[in-house]
Amino acid sequence: MFNEMFSYAFMVRATIAILLISPLFGMVGTMIVQKRMAYFSDALGHSALTGIAAGVIMGIGNTTVSMIIFGICFALLLNYISRKGLSSSDTLISVFASCATALGLAILSRGGSFANYSAILVGDILSITYTEIIELIILFGIILLFWCFSINRLTAISIHATLAKSRSISVRIMEDAFAVLIALLVMLSIKWVGILLINALLILPAASSRNISDNFREYTYFSIIFSIFSGIVGLFVSYFTDMATGPMIVIIASVIYFATYIYGKDR
């Protein structure tokens, strides 16, 4: 059964891609949940459309590049505006996300051509190429390094920013660096996961892990395990049932969430 599945090169590539992306989602998701940034990452996902649109307008052939550049600018802009504190940040993020989405949709639908881009909504992991897998390996390395270097500081900031600052942690730089990191992860994986589901994959494993963890190590490692498990099982189930991969992964991640919720409630 599995022999047959792996005789298809696209299934091998998809499996490798999931083994690379899902642990990153599990890991980065822990801090997104801890810092209550779910809205932020969702907005970033939606801004991918605008990034593609910007690339199309400027005639950049590789829309991944324009997505990444736009994503980083968008993330830093959101941070900047949130810091000004003029309005509550969830409202602001909502406004900017809707604006970016609308702009992207408007531009991409010009001349009725949106169908060319609709794949980005649900993503297609089966179409990944080896060059793109190399990109993911580099991303994997970058995020892992960043994580070891800054996890303590990010955690400290999430507990109490002023207290962190009094211990000479540069709060602004860390927050911006983390936002850029989320932008990189989202933009480099959105083609495979899809705009509609990417936030679910970032949030669900960490949220599930939070239901049952007492310390940060449990939190991180359970989240990574849940993420890889739902990724791989989701891929296999989608292969055998002939359904889209992304939604199947999210369904499995949701089941894990409800299971941990029920289990963790009695703690």
Binding site: I159, L163, S166, R210
Partner: protein
């Protein structure tokens, strides 16, 4: 615990400190000398600028004037290390952070993704000074107010600050906890070479334990020994005469 006698030669000078938000002048002309080995209590009515004063010392809000840390032995100016204890930290019950994780995230280099026996023992030792070493593996969200405060204190004095800055740290703590807290302050000032600035509402404790009292109402309206400040007109204007009476009764007990 190694005993360090406060030398009395370090002095924190606050010169002409002022803070304004837009057009509104919140603090102005604050001039103070804070000596190591002393507890200076900051009191004042609500909205008098006590918390802004703390935030200015922490450099959290833009301010005019300067804060110097001076060694009177050789008249050199040094960088001021501040151990800060916030009013509260908002951690909900389900946050997956143990006391070890919180301590290590603020003070340690080893990523909290791993835990070594050496680091664990190190944190435990620091917690032991405040009698909370048994809480090391407990989730932070499940601690009581008093326990959390002790952990925060242990974090604040962990790398020998010159100034311990506490912003109303005893809110939500019962009387036993208050006594224990102020005795701990007394102990800290006697055993560590640091100055303590404490924002407080508890006038009778301030009267009993503080070496200096600073009454703030936009600027310093009275400062000096507790008795001196508590008998000043400025104090009576803010807290009324009743407060002084109460304080004297409890101070005599």
């Amino acid at each position: 615990m190694k005993k360090i006698i406060p030398c009395g030669f370090h002095c924190i000078k606050i010169k002409d400190l002022g803070v304004s938000f837009g057009d509104q002048q919140v603090l102005e002309n604050i001039n103070l000398h804070i000596h190591c080995g002393q507890i200076s209590a900051v009191i004042g009515r609500n909205g008098a600028g006590k918390s802004t004063f703390v935030r200015a010392i922490l450099d959290e809000v833009p301010h005019t004037g300067e804060i110097l840390f001076k060694n009177k032995m050789d008249n050199t100016i040094q960088g001021l290390r501040i151990g800060y204890v916030p009013q509260t930290v908002n951690i909900d019950r389900t946050t997956p952070l143990s006391v070890y994780d919180m301590f290590q995230s603020f003070t340690g280099k080893l990523p909290i993704l791993v835990k070594t026996k050496k680091e664990h023992d190190h944190v435990k030792e620091a917690l032991a000074e405040f009698d909370v070493e048994h809480l090391i593996d407990q989730p932070v969200g499940t601690l009581s107010g008093g326990q959390l405060q002790r952990v925060l204190l242990a974090m604040a004095v962990h790398d020998t600050p010159n100034l311990l800055l506490l912003d109303e740290p005893v809110s939500g703590i019962d009387k036993n906890g208050m006594d224990a807290f102020y005795e701990k302050m007394q102990y800290l000032k006697e055993t560590h070479d640091l100055a303590i600035i404490l924002v407080s509402h508890d006038l009778d404790y301030v009267y009993k334990y503080a070496d200096n009292v600073i009454l703030i109402d936009k600027t310093v309206t009275a400062a000096g020994k507790p008795k001196h400040v508590f008998e000043s007109d400025a104090f009576k204007n803010v807290f009324g005469k009743g407060a002084t009476g109460e304080v004297e009764v409890s101070a005599n007990v």
